[in-house]
Symmetry: C5
Subunit: 322 residues, 5 copies
Amino acid sequence: MLINCVVYQEGKKLADIDVEDIGRHVARPGCFVWVALRDASNEELDTMQREFGLHELAVEDARHGHQRPKVEEFGDTLFVVMHSVERGAIDELRVGEVNVFAGRNFVLSVRNRSQHSLLGVRERAEREPELLRQGAGFVLYALMDAVVDRYFPLIDALERELEGVEEEIFVHGAARANIEQLYGLKQRIMTVKHAVTPLMESAAKLWSGRVPAVCEGNREYFRDVYDHLMRINGTLDTLRDTIGTAIQVNLSMVTIEESETTKRLAAWAGLFAVATAFGGIWGMNFEVMPELKWQYGYPMALGFVALTCGLLFWRFRRVGWL
Amino acid sequence: MLINCVVYQEGKKLADIDVEDIGRHVARPGCFVWVALRDASNEELDTMQREFGLHELAVEDARHGHQRPKVEEFGDTLFVVMHSVERGAIDELRVGEVNVFAGRNFVLSVRNRSQHSLLGVRERAEREPELLRQGAGFVLYALMDAVVDRYFPLIDALERELEGVEEEIFVHGAARANIEQLYGLKQRIMTVKHAVTPLMESAAKLWSGRVPAVCEGNREYFRDVYDHLMRINGTLDTLRDTIGTAIQVNLSMVTIEESETTKRLAAWAGLFAVATAFGGIWGMNFEVMPELKWQYGYPMALGFVALTCGLLFWRFRRVGWL
Amino acid sequence: MLINCVVYQEGKKLADIDVEDIGRHVARPGCFVWVALRDASNEELDTMQREFGLHELAVEDARHGHQRPKVEEFGDTLFVVMHSVERGAIDELRVGEVNVFAGRNFVLSVRNRSQHSLLGVRERAEREPELLRQGAGFVLYALMDAVVDRYFPLIDALERELEGVEEEIFVHGAARANIEQLYGLKQRIMTVKHAVTPLMESAAKLWSGRVPAVCEGNREYFRDVYDHLMRINGTLDTLRDTIGTAIQVNLSMVTIEESETTKRLAAWAGLFAVATAFGGIWGMNFEVMPELKWQYGYPMALGFVALTCGLLFWRFRRVGWL
Amino acid sequence: MLINCVVYQEGKKLADIDVEDIGRHVARPGCFVWVALRDASNEELDTMQREFGLHELAVEDARHGHQRPKVEEFGDTLFVVMHSVERGAIDELRVGEVNVFAGRNFVLSVRNRSQHSLLGVRERAEREPELLRQGAGFVLYALMDAVVDRYFPLIDALERELEGVEEEIFVHGAARANIEQLYGLKQRIMTVKHAVTPLMESAAKLWSGRVPAVCEGNREYFRDVYDHLMRINGTLDTLRDTIGTAIQVNLSMVTIEESETTKRLAAWAGLFAVATAFGGIWGMNFEVMPELKWQYGYPMALGFVALTCGLLFWRFRRVGWL
Amino acid sequence: MLINCVVYQEGKKLADIDVEDIGRHVARPGCFVWVALRDASNEELDTMQREFGLHELAVEDARHGHQRPKVEEFGDTLFVVMHSVERGAIDELRVGEVNVFAGRNFVLSVRNRSQHSLLGVRERAEREPELLRQGAGFVLYALMDAVVDRYFPLIDALERELEGVEEEIFVHGAARANIEQLYGLKQRIMTVKHAVTPLMESAAKLWSGRVPAVCEGNREYFRDVYDHLMRINGTLDTLRDTIGTAIQVNLSMVTIEESETTKRLAAWAGLFAVATAFGGIWGMNFEVMPELKWQYGYPMALGFVALTCGLLFWRFRRVGWL
């Protein structure tokens, strides 16, 4: 679905144009065409390939989707695949794709399976003609920056969620819920990591060493994007590491709790076993058991059992079992 | 077993030729010979070595098989070893080999211990003469692409299988089946990984830096293959990592379940221990036990025991043990 | 908040100047301006950007904070982000930021959310004019050195804390406290590591290979800073590794202790079970049970039970269960 | 102990020579001397050092042994240390050393603490004069190839052994034997890995980048050796990884089995506890317990107990505890 | 404390000189000064800095100690920090420092907190004038070699200790002692590793690539030192890895043992529970319990109980629980 197809000159919008006129405007010196598609159909992609002269393989990737994030050069044209990650229903992340083709004087963005519009990027860019004048490199930066900036609230949410688990981790009886949540959290972190890490690795070549012509004048900007990706990636690694430790600690807590429960149960069982044993002994049917005939035999026996149990209780409490 | 032996010119099939004529056609400028063998015998390989002038060590590797995937240059000729991985009987993967020799104007493919035919590659290539005209580089790409594309359904199956285990992982009593399945899954992932990772590492030299002459004109295509291998490799790494966590989580679940079972059992044992202890006490044979003579002593005793057990039951239920 | 704004010549303080005069002094040859801000407001940063001609992106980073530590070049100007880590309330670390802009003849330091003043650095530098004469490079070194030196007492405290846990780790019953402390310790170590590792990686480019013009004359000094960071980083890695092992060992100790407790309890339970079983047998109501009629049947029975229990007790003690 | 000392020309054996004549023949152009020692004495090594002009440090290494595998250049001479690994008594690996000095026109091999003779290498080489004509480089290759080829059966044996454990891993009651075997297996894998990995790392410089003069003409051959080492190394890494998982899985199985045993025991204990509790209640000595006087009280009581136990048994069976 | 201060010419000792004369002799061509300090005071270091013209930062490092091992160049002078590790009281390692400054024609060694004298190095060097003639490079090598050689017995002791634990690891009841020892062992290994790994990394630049002028003529010697460090480092890594596995295996053994103990206890408990249950049943006070009146009721009951217990005993033994 075509969203926008605009031609710019000197950083200012000239006109909305028809898709068929793209080729003509791209050929005009000093002009710059910026097209945005959403969930593009095969026909739209074919048209774009023809108008912009895109490479077969890049268009194939955009068509089939499910690529890993990457930055590829096809001659003068850069092809950038980014993943958008959005919070869907409860505890689920939905992954979409933003493909950007950036040539000498055009940018084509194709957004697939993603709710978040990129219209804001165009609006902001049009408000700053002195930046937009820099052309394709700046627009590519603006699009990448927009996609990357949307990772931050995700990361924050994941961090808050982990902190929530951490508060529960030393609480009695929360082990099962914790472990389920930690496992789900790890899955979500991996989803974001798959969007971030390959993009980070690819983005390095947009600012360091030999840089594609499109990005040449905007090295600092792409370094900034790279820097954000580094920061997100570092946070994700820490989250992952922390989850690993938290799972381990959680298992330790389960074992410790089981150990404590075992002790408490065993202590109570001991008290009753004592009563039962004495009951058994004085319940024997020997004819000659003098104490059975005593006037106060029974209360003494009860007292004796109670005393023994009391002593045990006191001792168990002292060593912290009860 | 010889499958095909065809000579092409300008991207079009000239003729099926005899194996003995290969050398002659390879020497003709503008010609291109594409030979396919399957489970090649020693004699066939000897013939090929003579006709194409292949290097001793490469032919040895193709003969003995069980090489790790690799891309090697012997002078002008590229020698590529790939593993085909196919689903055999239940839960088992069978590994075969596809060896490709690609020279300036010939390609020889040798397929060993593999069910999947590569005939489709030739058919598709013959339908696109403008691509086939590019010669050995393109055919090598087409073969590699075909082998790599067959990894995807395998990966999907492994992912689905893991998702199946994940749905069971927090279910009571499935721990033993889970752990067996996770272990088997890990083994199969390693099998695929051994096919993918070394090939990926080797394939990098077909498109970046100095590139063998055969591949020079098709850099973008080999980068595409490399990219697919990267994606598969990334997915395998994630699967492996997830299985590691799943095994850990599964162990935690077993421990948690055992802990829960212990508590429930202990609670019931406690109820009966109370009854037994009181039974023991009132079963003692002291002569002077006034309550034994009461008219309603017995129902009161029963009531007392029932009350105590009821209280315990209520308390155990409140703390979630029953 | 402006803290200092001083112009130096030949290593000696000329005068405190107004913020508006900075641009004029920076333009004077042989002069050197050193400005220090704390929790800078947007207006202050705007002024600084204008007076020193700082790059938009660097100022943005300083404004928003929460950057990862880094060293970036914007033309002639170096932009260094460092984290200050301070001990807050009990067992908590507070992270602040020290941003330094170092140009050919100026240094601007911006300290955010940090208690520790950097005034001492200026005082020491002013006492050594022959060093201060080296200009921006030396001041940058002095600031980095000051920040890095403050990591050492933190590391020492973490090491002491870990040693404290280690002394407890083989002590009975401390498992729960140990695991909580180890987990908290790990979190704090990660906080410091996030301050140290990225800074170390960035600092490498201040002394090895091509070095920014500002640092050219002070390579050895920056290598020294780098060396300190390496040392801290190595210690943190070891701490982290040791904590991992300690958590594992702690879990082992819990399991071992549980095993020992189980054995001790089982042994006592066994003694009572014996008494109960014999009590039950001699409590049966068979009419013909000759021993019940013996004169010394009861003491013999008690003796028999005592003897059996004694034997068991002796055996359990011998195998170390009691 | 001297095994062979032969001089070759044009790939053909000229004569067995005396150790003292080595220096003279090495100096003759077109000649090539190949000496083999076994468990060399200090005197023999001194002689060799003098005759071949070997470097002090290399001879020291050969004398003392226990070096890690490596490839070192001393001027024109290559010094290669390899480990031979042989199966000793049950489940034990014995590590020996093969040191090779390869100069422009000589090869000296010193085999220490190793049973396997390298005579076969010389025989095969002498049967192929066109290869042997290539001189020291080819002989070095042949020796390395022979040592490396002997790792394969070892690896196969380790793999078979691991498969044996894997078949036992989900079998009841084999946990103790499994864990012992896995630990031993891991130790043996590490032994082989110490022989393989450093050699692989060193062997890379025999074929890629700048190559020592001795190996220049045989790059492909050394790449082949390297490739074998890569394959072995990869297999060892997988074995090690699999053992790690297997140990983890084994622990899980122990925990699962314990959990199952606990449940089964608890179920049986429950049945008997019920009987005991009812026995205790009807064994109380209250005077007024009407059911005790019933004609069929006893069978009814027994029936009641049996019924309760039966119900419990049926329920336990349904949840899989019995 | 000054130990030696000697001037050499042509590899032969000229004279012991005064500290104040050092500067004069260092300036004489063909002369070479070798000074050894031990636990140097501030004044001594100041003198040395003045006489040899050492760099401020290097002297600071030597003064404060607690540096990580490293090799640094300050102009022509090399500054090498090494750790000496010595066995102190039981199971404790003491870390000292050996700092070496090596210039064009001088060597200054400063030994801190270390018992082992380095006098032997000087004696051996003076006995071999042809080597000592090579000057500072050779002396630096000799000192490094001496420090590194002292790591070997430490490593051997650690290996023997680990083997000792391994022999205990499958023995019943040794788990607690094993885990304590493994933890301590791991700590000690880390201490040695901190001495070895950074030194190894630094030592690489003494023989490969661009080499400091001081070491130029002795590349092979420094490679030898490097090689020893590689070997030690590899052994330490293996030890660490093995300890990790051993801790895991030890935990498995504890769990297995606990499982076995649980089964044995449960079996015995079962035998007694049977006796108790039957005792309870025949102890009931029903009036009509015909078997109680039988002449041989009691022995039959005892026999029945014994038989049941015997059967259980036999079954438990068969499944290996008793």
